[in-house]
């Protein structure tokens, strides 16, 4: 392993590592635009210059070189703090800024722009441009979700390298020479692939911006919470960027009757960004996950417990709905426990499934529990990230055992069983019953109870009583992805209205049915889960690191 000196201190690095990574590992940040650890190194921005001294033909010779292209070699000496290096970096930055439009007030990237940050850290020069700046194309629509601004581009080619090396779709390329050089779509192409949103994260400046996030909120208002995507079995690591202020202001101006339009965005989640996890999703997420957060604050969100009173849904207190659930379930169980079917969606966290399992299987001993919802036929997986299974926690359901026992009925048998009259009570958690039941069997059911996040208008006629469940971003827990990796997700903000996480409703329901579940928070459920389910043995929130833990037979 080569030993090199960085700013006078000797360190050891593995063979083949470049100097930029080596400096980063010892805590010295070298500014760079084009270098990205997961992409090919091109060395086009010239920002990462350092002073390299090497033994050449018997004497130490030093030169200024770009650190991303220099590999560590024994006896090398690196300096990042000499005046010459600083001057070189400043000059590079001055060149990059010479035609930059400086429209930071309207740029969505302002606040997390590397050009801005480096100017404050390494530049601080006055502009010497006398010539007019070169004008170029602005706000150019290049795809379903991406806007290109050629004036702001620093030609780092990260986006085109991503589209060449990761997605292999080759939509963007660099055309022209000299000052006319610019990034553009290849003839006939449009940036419409499933991973197009990643070029926005890769862009170090505001050249590629997101249409969904366009002008929505300045980045310095956002608060970030680490989470796990719930749109497929991969379990990509994401960051929820949220801000409650527009939401509160909307309510306020609404109350004051001063609002004119409904233009104010009620979304509390402003955007989704990927987190680096080399074992799961590297640093990429698909567009389904990136723009799939909108159901959290959509118009059909159920925020209050509702009960059906003579054909009409009325918002009531949670206690009344729990009471309706309890009397309905109790009377069905008293006649025959086989008459009740409980269907949960594999979108639930491990803790919620375990709470539901403890109540319905362990305490009430119901045979007909299932989670195997049919997969949406429009959903297709791919070989990069998207899994063929659109549910984040199917493996967790199987491991915990939320499946029909011996002679119990699964989801696919329900239609027949209902038409035969074998089942007359249905409780679904987070699942739309029309996904697996026909209309006539749904209307044949005697009692239909739901725990739902969203209540669409056309489902309302089928609801007897419904409890509002916390949506993604409002609860914490763990998901088990398709390879048995357990990862944590955190709650970004409190649930909307009277909504509660499913495990909370399970505890309330258990209390109503005089079957006590003595948990207060998700940690307690995790503790109990690790005691009772073999695959989760010795697991706690503290032992699940930022990369997650692989458990089970796949570990």
């Amino acid at each position: 392993m080569p030993k090199i000196k960085i700013n006078g201190n000797e360190h050891e690095f593995p063979e083949g590592m470049n100097v930029l990574e080596a400096c980063k590992n010892v805590g010295i940040y070298v500014p760079h635009f084009c270098y990205h650890p997961l992409l090919r190194t091109v060395g086009s921005c010239r920002m990462c210059k350092v002073e390299v001294s090497q033994n050449m033909r018997g004497s130490m010779q030093s030169r200024i070189d770009i650190s991303c292209k220099v590999e560590v070699a024994d006896g090398m000496e690196i300096r990042t703090d000499t005046p010459e290096v600083k001057k070189q970096q400043q000059m590079t930055l001055e060149f990059l800024l010479s035609n930059h439009p400086l429209d930071c007030p309207v740029c969505d990237d302002a606040g997390e722009c590397e050009l801005q940050n480096f100017y404050f850290e390494f530049g601080q020069h006055d502009s010497r441009m006398i010539e007019p700046k070169i004008k170029n194309r602005k706000a150019f629509d290049i795809g379903r979700s991406i806007v290109l601004d050629n004036e702001r581009c620093v030609l780092c080619s990260r986006c085109s390298r991503f589209l060449e090396e990761v997605t292999h779709t080759h939509e963007l390329g660099i055309f022209g020479m000299g000052s006319a050089e610019s990034i553009m779509l290849k003839p006939g192409a449009r940036l419409d692939n499933d991973y197009a949103g990643n070029v926005v994260d890769l862009c170090p400046v505001g050249a590629l911006t997101d249409k969904d996030y366009r002008f929505k909120r300045r980045v310095w208002y956002l608060k970030s919470t680490p989470s796990i995507c719930e749109h497929c079995a991969r379990g990509c690591n994401v960051r929820v960027d949220w801000d409650l202020n527009p939401y509160h202001w909307h309510k306020k101006t609404f109350q004051m009757r001063k609002h004119r339009t409904e233009a104010t965005d009620l979304q509390r989640i402003q955007r989704i960004k990927p987190r680096r996890n080399d074992a799961v999703n590297k640093e990429w997420i698909c567009d389904t996950g990136r723009y799939g957060y909108k159901s959290t604050d959509s118009a059909d969100r159920l925020t209050q417990p509702v009960i059906n009173e003579s054909g009409e849904l009325k918002p009531v207190e949670a206690g009344a709905v729990i009471k309706a659930f309890v009397t309905g379930l109790n009377s069905a169980i008293k006649s025959n426990p086989g008459k009740v079917a409980v269907v949960v969606s594999p979108k639930l966290t491990n803790e919620e499934i375990y709470a539901a399992w403890s109540l319905f299987r362990k305490r009430l001993e119901l045979p007909n529990l299932d989670h195997k919802l049919p997969v949406d036929p429009e959903w297709t997986g791919d070989d990069l990230l998207k899994s063929a299974d659109p549910f984040p926690n199917r493996l967790g359901c199987e491991w915990i055992g939320f499946v029909p026992d011996g002679n119990g009925l699964g989801v696919e048998d329900l239609n027949l069983a209902i038409s035969n009259g074998k089942i007359d009570t249905l409780l679904t958690i987070l699942a739309d019953p029309r996904e697996f039941l026909e209309e006539k069997s749904l209307s044949k059911l005697k009692r239909k109870f739901f725990i739902l996040r969203n209540l669409p208008e056309d489902l309302k006629e089928h609801v007897d009583a419904a409890l509002p469940a916390a949506a993604w971003g409002e609860y914490r827990g763990t998901f088990t992805n398709f390879e048995g990796r357990i990862q944590r997700l955190e709650a970004a903000f409190d649930p909307e209205g009277e909504a509660q996480p499913v495990w909370h409703w399970m505890i309330e329901l258990a209390t109503g049915m005089k079957k006590s579940l003595k948990w207060r928070k998700t940690e307690d459920i995790m503790h109990s889960l690790s005691d009772h389910v073999i695959n989760y043995k010795n697991l706690s929130y503290d032992s699940i690191g930022p990369e997650g833990v692989v458990v089970g037979d796949k570990a």
Partner: protein, 188 residues
């Protein structure tokens, strides 16, 4: 209960006892001011003398001169072609210590302008009139120079919206007004 009031006995000397001399002096000053001001008012009313008699301002009819650094109600300035100057960069919303500004940015109707505030609210009940928003603005789009002493005189409904801050009709959307009054800046 314990007696807590202590009585102090002060002996007034002869100098304090003949206080009526000072009373007469005071009355003399009051009278002099009254007579002088009355004559000045009369002369001012007859337009013989230019300056006013006293420093009192007869408020609703007569306003005090306002200092050029006065910070009053907010105003959104407009460009020569009548469009808003504001580009919704959120600097004012960021710096506002009372969080009284709320901007909803959007795509501008003008193709030469990228971003503009679709809605601009100022909650004057929260505002402390510190003027930091005007200072932070890179485009001189917000000013606190409307001379309006009674901001919330007869109503408590004082979340100002964009049209009000631009001095337009409150019920009429700014976009409508802009399209009607639009003059191309190149023609001017």
């Amino acid at each position: 209960m314990e007696k807590r009031v202590r009585e102090l006995k002060v002996d007034y000397g002869p100098a304090e006892n003949i206080y009526w001399v000072e009373v007469l002096k005071g009355l003399w000053i009051t009278n002099r001011h009254f007579m002088v001001n009355m004559w000045r008012h009369i002369l001012h009313a007859l337009r013989i003398k230019a300056e006013k008699g006293a420093v009192t301002f007869q408020y609703p009819e007569e306003h005090r001169p306002i200092h050029h650094r006065w910070r009053g109600r907010h105003r959104l300035t407009v460009k020569q072609n009548g469009a808003m100057r504001c580009t919704a960069c959120m600097m004012c919303e960021t710096i506002c210590p009372d969080e009284c500004i709320h901007i909803v940015p959007g795509e501008s109707p003008d193709p030469n302008v990228e971003k503009f505030p679709e809605e601009f609210y100022v909650d004057a009940l929260r505002c402390c009139f510190c003027g930091l928003c005007a200072e932070a603005c890179p485009l001189d789009a917000i000013r606190l120079d409307v001379i309006e002493p009674e901001i919330c005189g007869f109503t408590r409904d004082i979340i100002f919206n964009k049209e009000f801050l631009m001095g337009l009709n409150n019920d009429r959307p700014w976009e409508e007004w802009y399209i009607e009054n639009k003059t191309d800046s190149k023609e001017k």
